[in-house]
Symmetry: C2
Subunit: 198 residues, 2 copies
């Protein structure tokens, strides 16, 4: 077990393969056979490690779900300059969403029931972010730096903008060829800053 080498352990190979395939084809759309083969292992090994297909999925979710506290990420980084702060929020948001990309794809495809408690966890970040951003807007307006109305709705609107963009990018849906994330982020922040200008 050389855990410091580049080689992955068998169980990790299986978890990753499961994550990829289930995100792509859905839980019922993939066979244990497929997963094992994709991991370069035998089906038997899969069952020896995880006991069942369900437990494999759960283990994969546990292992690779990224769930840091957002509050800490922002607590000391905000500089109370609207555009700069929104940019920080946005890039952090997309970073976290991308880290959890596979998990999000899976919980979109599967209905609750199959995935006990999965949805809760994928919803943790969005809710935290809404709180943080709402409070930020409240503070900013009390400093007189932005308009002072509907901070929660404004935060929600801002988040939906980027949630939409993320979802659009997911699966490479490519509904909108020629538009990439980078310029969108820039311009959307600039627009939003204009909108909130007192």
């Amino acid at each position: 077990m050389d855990s410091s080498s580049g080689k992955l352990e068998s169980s990790d190979k299986l978890l990753l393969a499961a994550l990829h395939l289930i995100a792509e084809k859905g839980y019922n759309g993939v066979t244990t056979q497929e997963i094992a083969t994709a991991a370069g292992l035998s089906e038997k090994t899969l069952f020896r490690h995880f006991g069942s297909k369900q437990k494999l999925l759960e283990a994969a979710f546990d292992r690779y779900h990224y769930a840091a506290e957002m509050k800490k990420l922002f607590a000391e980084k905000l500089v109370w300059d609207l555009e700069k702060d929104l940019l920080l929020v946005t890039t952090t948001y997309h970073e976290i969403m991308n880290r959890n990309r596979k998990m999000i794809q899976i919980s979109l495809k599967e209905d609750e029931g199959q995935l006990p408690g999965f949805r809760e966890r994928t919803q943790k970040h969005p809710q935290q972010l809404l709180e943080i951003l709402t409070n930020y807007f409240i503070d900013m307006s009390s400093k007189g730096k932005i308009v002072t109305a509907n901070p929660e709705l404004h935060a929600f609107t801002f988040i939906m903008m980027h949630f939409g963009a993320f979802m659009n990018d997911l699966d490479s849906h490519k509904s909108y060829p020629g538009i990439t994330l980078e310029p969108f982020v820039q311009e959307s922040v600039r627009l939003f800053a204009r909108a909130l200008r007192p």
Copy 2:
């Protein structure tokens, strides 16, 4: 076959049941047995009508996919008042997305391959809308009524906002309790109008 009565024909009952169940649990998550029972019919009848589960899904998609040309919807309704027009665009957008709600849920859950050409059709509206809105912004800025920069990115940003909100509402994910669509639509339009003010 009294097609004018309130009673649905058997094939329609099956199509609707299939649409509901597949949207909820995914194609592989539902059995033909379940669908037939939900429609109040026997499994045999399902196969007599559609021959196979695949063809049932395709028929459901064909029958209930709403695909009007957006251009016609707007051609005569725009009044060249930014807020009013954006409100029209938004409500029309949400109306069409909601009409196709089930179809969108299905094409999200299933990967291409299972659904030949489905994605294309669910992407038709968004693309049309981007064109229309982009052209609208170009015209508006040449009339001097809004800022004159990045019309396509602005249109994209606006659409992503509402796409995000729609996706968030889909499946009643309810990531954000206490926030409803109506006030969001109002406020987001107002915000956007402020942002584009020259």
